[in-house]
């Protein structure tokens, strides 16, 4: 472990330094991994590799498995998985966790949910940790003040066998957001605005630390939304320094450290924030009051505009390659230059995913939905991120508000974020989605995804077209 005292270090530097087992002659580090989250899609080939080589899981106690990607989010999950390939993948995970002694949260357990929702919620994802998962949205856990990043299946196997990864250090980037967030704007609007500014490769090779008083003022759910989409800016990871908000959150989790152990942990966590004068290779600043409610119009997350905007005209783009890409985006999305974003009708509204399915997100949607009705012809669904989120929402009566307004109230899972379980768009359907990727075909072949915040998605469901959430403020208080 490198000792402080000389060079001021960043949050990333400190966690990195504390986890270097050895540095190889060429500068590659053997980096220790504190928590390995796993799910059914990116692990079967890794467990096969272990079996073939006669290797064990080095630290089952630092590993946690859950099913989330493949599963249905309706009642059908109680009677078994219908799709034979999905069923085989889930059964394979169940066989593997048993054989290798890995702790597992089964489908019908109330703690089941999206891997990036349950890690923090259960108190398994903690500040100062290195956290990996075979999923790019692992960056979510950076909100805890951890170094968390997605890996491929070969690396999953490497971590299972050795509890380490071979890694080159990343560069440091800081995104400072300052000032009060404007009325109607949320963490989702912040991260979409950041990606709009720096682009989908703006963070490549870097770990982004989000800082500034706007970020400090976010609750943990908001911080997770911001860190979640770091990968959409190309960054290896996103992180936020742990503070009192973080510690209070962890204190309420079921499996976080307790008592004297909690106090010891907090004492260490307080040493983690970036030192004054720490050097960042790249720095970007945004003023919170410049951020309006955001909505993507194209097929990558940097193709984003304020809701008050109009569909851009490719002919105004000077770069030929970009012009061609924009034309293709408009063709795929079925848009015409100059159309007002608020004139676009929606077919489907999806509120869920590891970006926006926490209790705070569901409260935001319910606040807009209360006393209103989903527009005719719109299918609107709310998919809680975990069984515990679902239980909490039901205890608060949010499910009733949403159902009365005409939303479907579902079971926890990845659902319509990625088009690999029964929840999919059909070709040509236009969707207001709180998820993270608006790629061609992401939510189903031919599906047209517009990324928005939960409140904006709820407003679109009520209006039947995209709408400025600032015109749809709560009619009645929630309770």
């Amino acid at each position: 472990m490198a000792m402080s005292g000389q060079q001021p270090r960043t949050l990333f530097d400190k966690i990195w330094d504390a986890h270097v087992v050895e540095t190889l002659p060429d500068g590659t580090a053997l980096l220790y991994i504190d928590l390995h989250l796993t799910h059914e899609v990116t692990t079967p080939q890794a467990f096969d590799g272990l079996r073939a080589a006669g290797r064990k899981v080095r630290r089952p106690d630092a590993t946690l498995a859950v099913v989330d990607h493949n599963i249905a989010t309706d009642e059908s999950r109680r009677t078994g998985i219908v799709d034979p390939e999905s069923r085989l993948q889930v059964e394979t995970l169940e066989k593997n966790v048993k054989e290798f002694g890995v702790p597992y949260i089964p489908l019908l357990d109330e703690r089941q949910g999206i891997v990036h929702v349950i890690g923090p919620e259960l108190g398994r994802s903690l500040p100062g940790m290195t956290i990996v998962c075979g999923d790019s949205h692992t960056s979510t856990h950076g909100a805890m003040g951890a170094l968390a990043f997605g890996i491929g299946t070969s690396e999953v196997e490497h971590v299972l066998a050795t509890q380490t990864l071979l890694q080159k250090p990343a560069k440091n980037m800081r995104v400072l957001v300052e000032g009060n967030l404007a009325f109607g704007c949320t963490a989702k609007d912040i991260i979409l605005a950041i990606i709009g500014k720096i682009g989908t490769a703006g963070g490549t090779g870097h770990v982004i630390e989000y800082a500034g008083d706007t970020i400090r003022a976010l609750d943990m759910a908001g911080r997770m939304t911001v860190c979640n989409m770091s990968i959409e800016a190309g960054a290896r990871a996103g992180m936020i320094a742990p503070d009192e908000t973080t510690f209070e959150y962890i204190r309420r989790t079921p499996y976080g450290p307790k008592g004297e152990m909690f106090d010891r942990a907090v004492a260490w966590w307080r040493t983690l924030p970036s030192d004054p004068g720490a050097r960042f290779d790249k720095e970007v600043r945004l003023a919170a009051h410049d951020i309006a409610p955001q909505m993507t119009w194209g097929t990558n997350p940097e193709a984003v505009l304020p809701i008050t905007g109009t569909v851009p005209n490719p002919e105004d783009e000077p770069d030929e390659a970009k012009r061609a890409q924009m034309r293709r985006m408009l063709e795929y999305m079925g848009l015409t230059p100059g159309q007002r974003l608020t004139d676009l009708k929606v077919d489907v509204v999806f509120i869920g995913s590891c970006t926006n399915s926490r209790i705070e997100d569901i409260r935001a949607a319910a606040a807009i939905a209360k006393g209103r009705k989903v527009a005719e012809g719109v299918r609107a669904m709310v998919v809680p991120g975990s069984g515990l989120v679902k239980k909490q929402a039901e205890a608060e009566g949010l499910d009733r508000i949403l159902r009365e307004a005409g939303f479907e109230w579902r079971e926890a899972g990845c659902s319509m974020c990625l088009g690999m379980n029964p929840d999919k768009l059909t070709p040509g359907q236009r969707c207001a989605s709180t998820s993270n990727r608006n790629f061609e075909g992401r939510q189903g072949p031919g599906g047209r995804t517009h990324l928005v915040s939960p409140a904006m998605a709820a407003a679109a469901a009520i209006a039947g077209h995209f709408a400025d959430v600032r015109d749809y403020q709560p009619k009645e208080a929630l309770s």
Binding site: T42, N70, Q163, M261, R442
Partner: protein, 203 residues
């Protein structure tokens, strides 16, 4: 893993930026539990029409690119999901080298773990190679990892950079888990020290 030394083959032109891993292989095809068989669904949303028939406009459905071993593309190749099914699909189709101005980090990593060489070259060179690739079967490219050069059909040699450790592993087809396990005593020592300092990390 199959070593990568020198590859001479047909290069397919894919003049697009931000080719994400959902495009390379859509999620609905990620349900297999082995590493093989993903090639038929490589670029499925572009290669096949809604009725399942081949789309003749897509480059990999055209001769001679059905046998392409090299892919030329533009910026930020492999962005998005961490799915290693993307390199598995490319490899299963027969692609062993991708040349682009830059790559997304996780995809870049995943390539090396599977014997695929991602080569970063400036945009203007990628455009020249794109033109070479458009010439079809008469214009094979050679990618020589030993000498770190791409050889154009006209004989011009273009040098490229690659991480020395990754080059070594790729040239020799080495599994890095075996290498890492040689450091087991250091991992044991790290754990003993960490357990004493941060006992809450140990159940």
């Amino acid at each position: 893993m199959k070593p990568f030394t020198t590859l001479t083959g047909i290069a397919a032109p894919l003049p697009k930026a931000n080719v994400d891993t959902d495009q390379i292989i859509p999620a609905r095809f990620l349900k297999a539990i082995t590493r093989s068989g993903f090639g038929k669904n490589l670029f499925a949303n572009f290669r096949y029409r809604e009725d399942g028939s081949e789309n003749p406009d897509f480059v990999l459905n055209q001769e001679p690119y059905r046998k392409a071993e090299i892919l030329i593309a533009f910026e930020n190749f492999g962005c998005g999901s961490s799915r290693e099914h993307a390199p598995w699909a490319l490899l299963d189709f027969g692609i062993r080298c991708i040349i682009a101005p830059d790559f997304a980090d996780i995809f870049h990593n995943n390539c090396f773990k599977n014997g695929i060489l991602p080569v970063k070259l400036p945009r203007e060179i990628c455009e020249k190679l794109m033109d070479d690739a458009r010439m079809g079967g008469n214009a094979r490219l050679t990618v020589d990892l030993e000498r770190q050069v791409v050889v154009r059909p006209n004989g011009e040699e273009i040098p490229f950079q690659v991480d020395p450790l990754r080059r070594h592993l790729l040239l020799n087809g080495l599994d890095d888990i075996g290498q890492t396990l040689q450091h087991a005593p250091a991992i044991d020592a790290f754990e003993a020290k960490q357990r004493a300092a941060q006992p809450w990390l140990y159940a």
